[in-house]
Symmetry: C2
Subunit: 290 residues, 2 copies
């Protein structure tokens, strides 16, 4: 039976470590690290995320700057705010909560963020830095997956890693990170011909496709480490109820894998913890303390 990787506990301990790092930063720099979060419009899920980010930012001892703008905010006004945050010395990290309301150009807004404050790692500049091995910021979800893997396995060098999914915010940066760790990395996706065979060769499986329980238990190599990034809401046994499942058939995979992240409670809790980690890192770099 596989070890269940406790992302919630790991995230809590990471947030504690960040809080310690914040205290050291404050002592040296004479100010708190600052994270600015921009929320445009009234999307309920986004409001929940932003509230949680705010709480955890404050709990880690950082400044949280919230900017809530109406849904009819113009592109110009939003870009002006990003410019202002880029220039603000108290702001170390900038996060623009996605999705933006219709009519706003998400890509243009994201690209406007100073790469040195891009704690979400979504700019092209950050992607380029990651792709070429320069210091930069990596999107929080793949960074969280990597931390869980290293905590579980130690040195990843030489391991066969398969990333299922090739999105810009998870699959592709995940592959880059695993390559930096000297894994032999395979990127699989919807056009992969024999996905079960590809997964069967993997010591590390990262599933990030957004299809409920698509990766079957008997695809998993005995002893492999499985990281399930998917969060899919599906009907539950009880009528009218729903539940969350990952991209991996958990019950099936748990029997074969060496270790596996549950959904929920696996990768999910890592995201905000990694955002705080990136923000502290940004603050340290900006003050020459990194």
């Amino acid at each position: 039976m596989a070890t269940r990787i406790d992302g919630k506990a790991f995230a809590a301990s990471l947030r504690e470590k960040v809080a310690e790092g914040v205290a050291t930063f404050v002592a040296k720099a004479g100010r708190k690290p600052g994270l600015a979060v921009v929320l445009v419009g009234e999307d309920p899920a986004s409001q929940v995320y932003v509230r949680n980010k705010h709480k955890m930012t404050v709990a880690a001892g950082m400044e949280s700057f919230e900017h809530r703008l109406p849904a009819d905010t113009s592109q110009e006004a939003l870009l002006a705010l990003v410019d202002q945050l880029n220039a603000d010395p108290a702001v170390d990290g900038i996060l623009v909560q996605l999705p933006l309301p219709k009519g706003l150009d998400e890509n243009a807004v994201i690209q406007a963020i100073d790469p040195d404050k891009d704690v979400d790692g979504f700019t092209t500049a950050s992607a380029g830095r990651l792709a070429t091995g320069l210091p930069g910021f990596v999107a929080c979800t793949p960074l969280g997956c990597l931390m869980l893997l290293k905590d579980q396995l130690g040195d990843l060098s030489g391991k066969n890693a398969v990333v299922i999914g090739r999105s810009n915010i998870v699959g592709k940066p995940m592959a880059q990170l695993l390559l930096q760790e000297s894994c032999t990395v395979t990127i699989a996706h919807s056009r992969t011909v024999d996905l079960p065979a590809v997964v069967r060769g993997a010591d590390i499986v990262v599933a990030a496709v957004g299809r409920p329980e698509m990766v079957k238990g008997d695809w998993i190599k005995p002893g492999a480490t499985v990281i399930d990034v998917g969060i899919n809401r599906v009907p539950a046994a009880e009528e009218g109820k729903t539940k969350l499942v990952g991209d991996v058939d958990f019950a099936g995979a748990e029997a074969t894998a060496g270790a596996i992240t549950p959904v929920p409670g696996g990768v999910g809790p890592m995201t905000i913890a990694c955002l705080l980690y990136n923000t502290l890192e940004a603050a340290n770099r900006r003050e020459g303390l990194a």
Copy 2:
């Protein structure tokens, strides 16, 4: 017996196509596309490359702007020249010939190139564009490999591709390009545990490691397409003589592969042809003709 992929002939036909595109560009834009090449110092190999680039640029109907600077050129003077070329409307592409003499910061010079004129594809901005699927310029060697593969195989979707080597200028961009073509892509390297087994699963093998004849013939899956990026000079049978070999044991692989690039005469000739291709593309984009 494998088909020998004739890179020399393909490159010649690509240069002809570029020349036709140049004629169309001139008719529409009222000027020639311009490629600026900067050569610092007296490195003999670099001088040969720059001379060849100049000749082929002119032969394709483009303007070739050569800037030869002494080996003791300062970083400031070199950066000033790059800025001047960035601002020059007659210059569509900028290439700084590497290596630069000691004491000059190659990375800083490359990063100073306007990404819209980065026809060598070496800037972080170009790497970020490639990694996120935005239009940009791809380094000439992997671009040439991709062209040969598509010419040989047509649609690459679903094929298992293995890239051996993870350099920023060949292996990593090659993997990105193959992923864009919907291959299942594996990146292998010096830390890969069982490279022969990894290569045996591949429909497409791109070898870019710089180790003479490292990839053995019996690693090649019957019918696979093999692209050999290596150019290694080794002792020849006749005493005191040398010869060029690739990263693949050509004689062995030729017996099994479906198609293979020879060394020399495979990937090598594609590089300058792709540089001209990128320069025409840059000119078309800058004039809104792309």
